[in-house]
């Protein structure tokens, strides 16, 4: 038994090492083939680009760890981003009361995050109370939230949000872009939650064996609802970063972002059936996707081919992962 454990550990390390190795090789190849890739400005550029995906992917990791899925994050990102931009720019008019409420950046951001969290909670309740399968519940939310975004923006971007707001998406702090700081904070908190708290432990237990978790006295409904709420909140945070960077809330922002997030989680080694995976793996997965995107652009690969290549990379990652875990 001792022996098999050490083999398992060794293999685990190898698996982790494998994705890292793939990343290193990828970087090396790109550094050789392009002049720009290995410059600090490009590196920071890549980091800034992936910071939104990291925020979303972290939430997605928690959801997938419980054995669920969240397809609505892209739409939630758009709606929360639009609400933040709208409240910031136009405030809230209440004609009946003949009042107008203006919002500071902080207030508008808070509204955005809260709206995303609320939509996520709605997902969670649909899944736990009404027993709608996660795939279906969040698919419904994908179109509901997108529809509300269109209604709220009337189909037009909300632009001109001001210099101060732009700091969130384009600013720098200690030589590092602000979005990267945000992503790092999210990752640090998620790392702490998954490794050190009861919530984290319960997430793994539910994904590993829901029935045993329930019998152990864990409130499955509560934990799952919290997880979907977090995923919604983090999608909203992504929306705020995106609107700030573009200085504009686009009604079709975030379309198919859920796929990039799922890809990052899966490449990071998290099992789609739940119970197994890490935040660190997801971050690595997101970086691999980001570097790949960046590299393909630098190499002037056509955007159409980029999609094809990305798809095959995802397949390859899963096939390698499966062949490693097979006994």
């Amino acid at each position: 038994m001792e022996k098999s454990t050490s083999i398992r550990n060794y293999r685990d390390i190898l698996i982790k090492f494998q994705s890292l190795l793939a990343l290193v090789i990828l970087c090396f190849v790109l550094a050789m083939m392009t002049d720009i890739f290995f410059t600090s400005s490009n590196m920071l550029n890549v980091m800034r680009q992936i910071s939104v995906n990291i925020c979303i992917s972290v939430g997605m990791t928690l959801v997938i760890l419980t054995g669920g899925i969240d397809l609505s994050v892209g739409s939630i990102l758009a709606l929360s981003g639009a609400l933040t931009a709208g409240f910031l720019k136009f405030g809230l008019e209440l004609p009946f009361f003949d009042t107008f409420i203006g919002f500071t950046i902080f207030g508008a951001v808070l509204i955005g995050i809260l709206s995303g969290t609320a939509l996520g909670t709605f997902n969670g309740l649909a899944i736990t109370v009404f027993r709608v399968p996660p795939f279906v519940a969040t698919l419904a939310m994908l179109t509901i939230a997108r529809g509300f975004t269109m209604l709220y923006t009337k189909g037009f971007p909300i632009s001109g949000l001001g210099q101060n707001y732009a700091f969130i998406g384009t600013g720098w702090l200690l030589g590092i872009p602000v979005p990267v700081w945000i992503a790092l904070t999210v990752v640090a908190i998620a790392f702490f939650v998954t490794n050190k708290t009861r919530l984290g432990r319960y997430i793994y237990a539910i994904g590993g064996n829901e029935s045993a978790a329930q019998l152990s006295g864990i409130n499955i409904r509560k934990i799952k609802t919290i997880v979907y709420a977090i995923a919604g909140g983090l999608a909203a945070l992504g929306g705020i970063i995106v609107t700030s960077r573009l200085d504009s809330a686009q009604p079709n922002a975030g379309a198919s972002y859920e796929l990039d997030a799922i890809a990052a989680v899966v490449i990071g080694g998290t099992s789609l059936s739940g119970g197994k995976g890490t935040i660190g793996g997801t971050v690595l997965g997101a970086i691999i996707i980001g570097v790949l995107n960046n590299g393909l652009v630098l190499l002037n690969v056509s955007p159409f081919w980029q999609q094809v290549i990305k798809g095959f990379v995802i397949l390859l990652a899963i096939i390698i992962d499966k062949s490693n875990t097979r006994k």
Binding site: K196, N209, S211, A213, Q214, L215, S216, N219, G275
Partner: protein, 505 residues
């Protein structure tokens, strides 16, 4: 004739079968007899290709066989009808019978007419008067079993293995089934019949094989055998009979159940509870015996708050009425449930030993919202030591441990909650004899320390060895309460056999 020679099989270090020998003669019914955990199912799964790796050989009509999956075994003429039926409920009888063996026209479209006709012939042969287009979910369990048999006949099986075929069917259905078995015998099929119901075996079988602790104990003709001989051979040594502990605290009632009733979803008869009332005293081990589907598990689940809203009746704990909405309420009130299926309901197999043990008490291991890993390690270490859990480390994944050690982990996670009432559902299912004895000692020890213990079991020797008092359930009702001094297998079995059966005898 099929000969299984020197068959051995291990499951992650636990020996399930050791040089087992068995002969299955065509044109005869062979009864495979043994207690739960004796290795009957394992042996049958080897013969039918479910477990491809084992030691030993299988020789069928002089030819040495090796299967890597069940369909290869089927191809050689060996079919198994599992205890848990493997039909697809949404499909019709005919679709189920022909699943994977569909008859098609030349261009690949299904020849439904021909399949319907062939299915009808099979059903007629088995005296099941149903349209083959009937969806399977509308059938009774006994009828589904006959569909399974039809499926086996379609493959021209020469050996048909039936694993506990009568555990869930009515008496008339049993009679029909026996007719079918006799017919199969007359058609020169070899039938293996696994059952705990010894009367049935004596009625139907020609030969017998007794397994005990994974070894062949005896085989021969059933003629001249009676229930007592067979029981003797089955039980043999075996459990070192612990003297049931003195009942210390008969005066202190810690649990009172009044008129507990429960109807499972869909209103199925199996698992229903009807007006159950009983008491549990401090320091007592209350054994509850019942055949499959009598509501044993549902009783424990209802006590543990798993059926809020659907179960009725009163539960008093230490004199105060309780209405649990969720297992967490039950845990709060001092209850703990070691479930019947530890892999499905007891453990998170992909997590390690420590995490599984601490799962029930994480809230008590927290400092400022963070799990205190030191406390957690100490807690896990304590139970690993006290219960003698054999694991290479606390970080070992639970899935790599033997059944006995896994069960000790389930018990540990519940002892960690310091329960006052411990509910055990089949606490020694599927674990080896040594681990069994350890668990019996542990249960006895816990009772001495003042826990009230309810132990549900379908193993009579276990009930007799450990309980202070025995309750018997049949068809969702309590049919007997027997003090241990008056309990024996006969008395308990009498009460456990459904009334309808007694009336028809």
């Amino acid at each position: 004739m099929l000969i299984a020679k020197d068959i051995s099989k291990n499951f992650s270090g636990v020996r399930a079968l050791e040089s087992v020998n068995m002969e299955i003669h065509l044109g005869q019914v062979t009864a495979l007899i043994g207690e739960n955990g004796a290795g009957k199912s394992t042996l049958m799964k080897i013969l039918s290709g479910v477990y491809p790796d084992y030691d030993g050989e299988i020789i069928f009509n002089g030819k040495r066989l090796g299967f890597s999956n069940p369909s290869e075994a089927q191809h050689e003429g060996i079919a198994i009808i599992h205890q848990e039926l493997s039909l697809i409920p949404q499909l019709s009888i005919a679709e189920n019978i022909f699943l994977g063996r569909e008859i098609t026209y030349r261009f690949g479209t299904l020849n439904k007419k021909l399949m319907w006709r062939r299915a009808k012939e099979l059903l007629d042969r088995l005296k099941l008067d149903l349209d083959p287009n009937t969806p399977v979910y509308t059938l009774k369990v006994g009828q589904q079993q006959i569909v399974e048999i039809a499926k086996a006949l379609l493959t021209d099986a020469e050996i048909i293995i039936m694993d506990e075929p009568t555990s869930a069917i009515s008496d008339q259905e049993v009679d029909i089934l026996f007719e079918i078995v006799k017919n199969l015998r007359n058609q020169n099929k070899g039938v293996v019949y696994i059952s705990h119901k010894l009367d049935e075996l004596i009625r139907i079988a020609d030969r017998f094989v007794v397994l005990r602790d994974g070894k062949t104990i005896e085989s021969g003709l059933i003629k001249g055998m009676n229930k007592d001989n067979i029981i003797q051979k089955m039980v043999g040594r075996n459990i070192q009979l612990l003297t049931p502990p003195e009942v210390s605290g008969q005066e202190e009632k810690i649990l009172e159940v009044k008129n507990l009733s429960y109807t499972p979803k869909g209103g199925t008869k199996s698992g229903m509870l009807k007006h159950i009332s009983f008491n549990l005293y401090k320091g007592e081990i209350l054994g509850i015996f019942g055949l499959m589907g009598t509501g044993r598990t549902e009783l424990l689940e209802s006590l543990f708050g798993l059926h809020p809203g659907t179960s009725e009746g009163e539960i008093h704990i230490n004199g105060t009425a309780a209405a649990f909405q969720h297992p967490s309420d039950a845990i709060q009130a001092g209850l703990a449930l070691v479930p019947e299926d530890r892999k499905k309901d007891g453990l998170v197999l992909g997590l390690d030993v420590r995490t599984n043990i601490s799962l029930t008490v994480l809230d008590k291991l927290e400092n400022f919202g963070t799990i205190n890993h030191k406390k957690e390690t100490r807690l896990a270490g304590k139970y690993i030591g006290e219960l003698g859990i054999k694991t290479s480390s606390q970080k070992q994944l639970v899935m790599n441990l033997s059944g006995g050690n896994q069960q000790k982990i389930v018990i540990s996670k519940w002892l960690a909650t310091h329960p006052k009432i411990l509910l055990l559902d089949e606490p020694t299912r599927g674990i080896d004899v040594n681990a069994k004895n350890e668990i019996y000692k542990l249960i006895t020890q816990l009772a001495k320390e003042g826990l009230g213990i309810i132990m549900v079991s379908s193993e009579l020797p276990e009930i007799l060895a450990v309980s202070n008092r025995v309750l018997v359930m049949a068809e969702g009702e309590l049919t007997a309460e027997i003090p241990i001094s008056e309990a024996n297998e006969e008395v308990i079995m009498q009460a456990a056999i459904p009334k309808s059966k007694q009336a028809s005898n």
